[in-house]
C-alpha cells in the first residue's frame, strides 16, 4: 500500500552562509531515506548537494550582499531529482569546468588546486548532472533508486518495505 509519491516536491531556501550547509545535508538525507535509498547512496546524495551548496555560497556571493540558495527535491517514479540554485553572478563556470577532474599524481604538487574537486565529486557520485548559468548557477542532479542491482520505482520500494 505504497502512497503515490511521483511528483512530490520538497524545498529548502537558506541564506548563502556556510553554517546552513549542514542543514541542507540533513534535509536531503531525510528525503532520500524516505524514498528507500541505500545508506551509501544517501551519503553520496548528501555529499553532492553539500558540494553544490558550497559552490553557491563560495562563488556566487562574494560581495557584501548575502543571497539565498534554493534546494528543490523532486520525487520521480524511479529517481530523485535535486536542483541547487543561486542568484549570484560572479561564478566562473567555464573556468571551473576546465579545472574539473581528479588529481594527477604526475603533476607538480605546487600546481594542484582544490578548485574543481567539488564539481568532480558531484559528477562522480550522481547518475546525471547538468550545470547551467542564467540568473545565477543551477546544478541539476539525478540519482536513481537501485535495489538488488536494478532500478525500481520509488512507490514499489516503499510498498515492499511496508508489507
Amino acid at each position: 500500500m505504497g502512497e503515490k509519491r511521483d511528483g512530490d516536491k520538497i524545498e529548502l531556501t537558506f541564506p548563502a552562509r556556510t553554517d546552513y550547509i549542514g542543514v541542507a545535508r540533513l534535509m536531503v538525507s531525510g528525503v532520500a531515506n524516505r524514498l528507500g535509498f541505500s545508506y551509501e547512496d544517501i551519503e553520496d546524495i548528501k555529499l553532492a548537494v553539500a558540494e553544490a551548496c558550497t559552490n553557491a555560497v563560495r562563488h556566487a556571493y562574494q560581495e557584501e550582499h548575502i543571497g539565498q540558495v534554493l534546494i528543490q527535491c523532486l520525487v520521480r517514479q524511479d529517481c530523485l531529482e535535486i536542483i541547487v540554485a543561486d542568484q549570484g553572478s560572479s561564478f566562473d563556470l567555464e573556468g571551473m569546468k576546465a579545472k574539473l577532474g581528479p588529481i594527477d599524481k604526475h603533476r607538480d604538487i605546487a600546481d594542484l588546486t582544490e578548485g574543481g574537486l567539488g564539481l568532480y565529486l558531484i559528477h562522480s557520485l550522481m547518475d546525471k548532472v547538468e550545470i547551467s548559468e542564467n540568473q545565477g548557477v543551477v546544478v541539476a542532479m539525478t540519482k536513481y533508486v537501485v535495489r538488488d542491482g536494478e532500478a525500481k520505482g520509488v512507490d514499489e520500494i516503499t510498498s515492499n518495505r511496508n508489507q
Partner: protein, 133 residues
C-alpha cells in the same frame, strides 16, 4: 555540526585528532590547526587522525592539499590515518590517495562506529511510526 581537535606529541612530530564534520563551515578551523603544525620546524612528521570524523567533503580535501604543499616546502611528512571506508573512497575518487599516505580505520572499530552512527542517523531522519518493527 561542528568539529573538535586535539594535538598530541608523537615521535618526531605531532598527531592531530579530529572529531565531527568537516565541511565548508568547519574546514577553516581544520586549516588553522593543521597549517602551523606542518610549518613547525621541529615537526618531521604530522599525522592527522580522522577516526571520529563522520563527514568530510572537498573542502576538507582542499585543506589537506594545501597542507601537503606547505609540508613539502618544510620537509615535513604529512599522513592521514583511521579514515572510514566512506572517506577513503573520496580520497580514491579524487586521486588524492596517490599523493598523500592514507591508512584506513581498523575493521572492528569501523564496524561498531558505523553501526552507531547509522543508528543515530535513523533516529534523526526516521520519524515514521509505520517503519518500526
Amino acid at each position: 555540526m561542528n568539529i573538535t581537535m586535539q594535538t598530541i606529541a608523537i615521535q618526531n612530530g605531532t598527531k592531530l585528532l579530529v572529531a565531527g564534520e568537516v565541511d565548508a563551515h568547519t574546514a577553516p578551523q581544520l586549516s588553522d590547526q593543521l597549517v602551523p603544525l606542518v610549518q613547525r620546524p621541529a615537526n618531521q612528521s604530522v599525522v592527522v587522525d580522522l577516526a571520529e570524523v563522520s563527514y568530510l567533503d572537498s573542502t576538507g580535501l582542499g585543506v589537506f592539499v594545501g597542507a601537503l604543499k606547505l609540508s613539502q616546502q618544510t620537509g615535513c611528512r604529512l599522513s592521514i590515518q583511521n579514515v572510514t571506508p566512506r572517506i577513503e573512497r573520496l580520497f580514491r575518487i579524487t586521486g588524492l590517495i596517490d599523493i598523500i599516505p592514507v591508512t584506513p580505520r581498523a575493521e572492528s572499530v569501523a564496524g561498531q562506529q558505523d553501526q552507531a552512527s547509522l543508528q543515530k542517523r535513523f533516529d534523526v531522519v526516521s520519524a515514521d511510526p509505520k517503519e518500526e518493527p
